[in-house]
Symmetry: C2
Subunit: 364 residues, 2 copies
């Protein structure tokens, strides 16, 4: 379902869009080109990992997830971090592929959990093959992750890092579900659901759900590139801060993004009853009690009408929530860039600096 | 839903039961005692693995699966195989725990896929916590498997064996679903469903779904016990044959078992539209065309009535299918035992021989 915004909403979106894009169009394009170029090299390898022990029917399913695109931000980070500590980008491919596989592993289950039929403008694995086949494909991804890790430089450390990361993502996903305000039949979830979410709660969730994978991407790059301990630490901090910023930017885009560029309608978090969106959370602080009740009531209800969605969006955009969230992402990206001070100058380091900016300036 | 059998059915069940149990009661009891004793030692370790990186809420969920029991046949096999090649049972604990974790990992997803609310007489994880939490718990199991493997003797070989095994189980599960004759909404499954299943197809499915895990349990035991190549090969064959027999015995019990002892109603495979049951498959060969059509029609239909179930059971039991399936399990167990010829005499070897018998004589 797509929601049509009011005049005022469109105007606000437009202004924000212009502000974000101003002067960055060229940078954004070159960053996307760079990601695509590296992504292709990782894709070949990760498809090989997915093919191991897969029947032709299963392989077709697991390939669908990869074929549906993605920006390949995370594996590009692994390769760049490896180069930034003096390693070859070639050496980073298995670990980078593992990171992208972890990302897709989590997406497959995330789409089943959220009943999402569309991602990146294309039907999800579950939409094409059904939930049952999606589970099985998802489980197969975990084995491909293992295959990538064991082919990596320093396999045992990479395997351990990957497993730790996956465990965190599971915890993040668990909290994400418990932060929802409706839409679940399970008695357990209804009982355990968070009625109130502080910004600390929110951070705990997105750090686990999103930031740890960015952190792992960069740490893995530093590890396979044989970086020194302080370099790996710096790269980890860079990845972690980028990851938190990335999720907040995702939250912002869910409210003010362009449907065509996102490949999915805006307001999806609200439709999915998610209170764990920084813009929604920040707006609640500024709204009056009756307005706050209205937002929470809408989050709890099933099948939100276009006009109800438009009302909620208007309320949220009447606050400074988008701007405040954007300021937070800027601060995080600043910190991410500073974490790279420990590294000697290099082409890779320069690209990492641009990539950090791209993460919050991207229009999708 | 429980189905009440006709007079004749009860009589047949009773006779079969007596035949299987005759003179084995003592053996069965001592085997169960032995399994329980070893199981306890593995349980402590596997709970430790499950606790790693789990929030207290998640740990409660993942523990539920283990607390609901199970005979611990597979980990006991790992320990016995380790001892049979001269290793200490202590050395086998991490690998044995990993095997039991793999088993439970597959059960969690299996219960979600089959929408099962009852297992071993107790509510399943999904029944208590809902499907979403069951996925997340399931995913966490995979990480506990990794933790067990990396703490094992020969960690890299064990990790590889575990991953290979899990991939096979996924394939077995995929076939199991595609062998069903109804009960799925997915267009993909409806299109890909097998209309006819040969005994070869059946074997392909149960070998992947069940036998490879028994094979892995025994192989892992041989590996961590530092067995010679021919010994490990013999143990693998033993495990594999026991595994095929185990699944066929499961199929038999689903038709003629005792609900109270099974902890689940009989006829569950039929209710779940599963054509992949050796007794059902064998009976089809003997039935007339109209009878065959009736069985297949029932397998396709939703919500089978007690009288329809009773009719089908009568038809199946009018053939020699149960007896033929039982003969096959006897042959497999014979082969399993012969595979142990390569091993020197020992207490562990003797127990493995009893265990093979127990697998097909067990009343649950």
């Amino acid at each position: 379902m797509m929601h049509f915004a009011s005049e005022k909403l469109i105007q606000t979106k437009y202004m924000l869009h212009v502000r974000i894009k101003l002067g960055d169009k060229e940078t954004a394009m070159s960053v996307i080109e760079m990601l695509t170029k590296r992504g292709k090299r990782v894709d070949d390898f990760l498809l090989k990992m997915l093919k191991i022990g897969a029947s032709s029917e299963l392989y077709e399913m697991v390939k669908h997830q990869i074929a549906s695109g993605g920006k390949r931000v995370r594996p590009a980070m692994t390769m760049l971090c490896c180069e930034a500590v003096g390693g070859s980008d070639e050496a980073a491919i298995p670990a980078a592929a593992g990171i992208e596989l972890i990302h897709n592993y989590s997406l497959i289950f995330d789409d089943v959990i959220d009943r999402s039929d569309l991602r990146r403008g294309l039907p999800t694995l579950r939409a094409v093959y059904g939930d049952v086949m999606a589970f099985l494909a998802g489980m197969h991804y975990r084995e491909a992750i293992f295959e990538a890790a064991r082919r990596s430089v320093k396999p045992r450390r990479i395997e351990k890092l990957f497993s730790w990361t996956i465990r965190k993502i599971i915890e993040g996903e668990r909290l994400d579900v418990l932060y929802e305000q409706g839409g679940r039949d399970s008695e357990y979830i209804k009982k355990m659901r968070f009625k109130h979410i502080s910004e600390d709660d929110y951070r705990r969730m997105i750090e686990a759900k999103t930031a740890v994978l960015f952190e792992a991407a960069c740490k893995a790059g530093g590890m396979v590139g044989d970086g020194k301990a302080p370099e790996i630490h710096g790269l980890s901090r860079y990845g972690w801060n980028c990851g938190v910023a990335f999720q907040m930017k995702d939250d912002i885009l869910d409210i003010v993004g362009e449907t065509e560029q996102l490949g999915k309608p805006t307001g999806k978090d609200i439709e999915e009853h998610k209170l764990g969106n920084i813009v929604v959370l920040n707006s609640l602080e500024e709204l009056s009690q009756p307005e706050r009740d209205k937002v929470l009531q809408t989050l709890m209800s099933q099948g939100i009408s276009d006009s109800a969605m438009s009302d909620i969006m208007k309320l949220i955009l009447s606050t400074k929530a988008v701007g405040r969230a954007y300021e937070k992402t800027k601060f995080l990206v600043q910190r991410a860039k500073m974490s790279l001070d420990v590294l000697p100058p290099s082409e890779a380091k320069r690209t990492l600096l641009s990539l950090a900016d791209f993460i919050i300036r991207r229009p999708f």
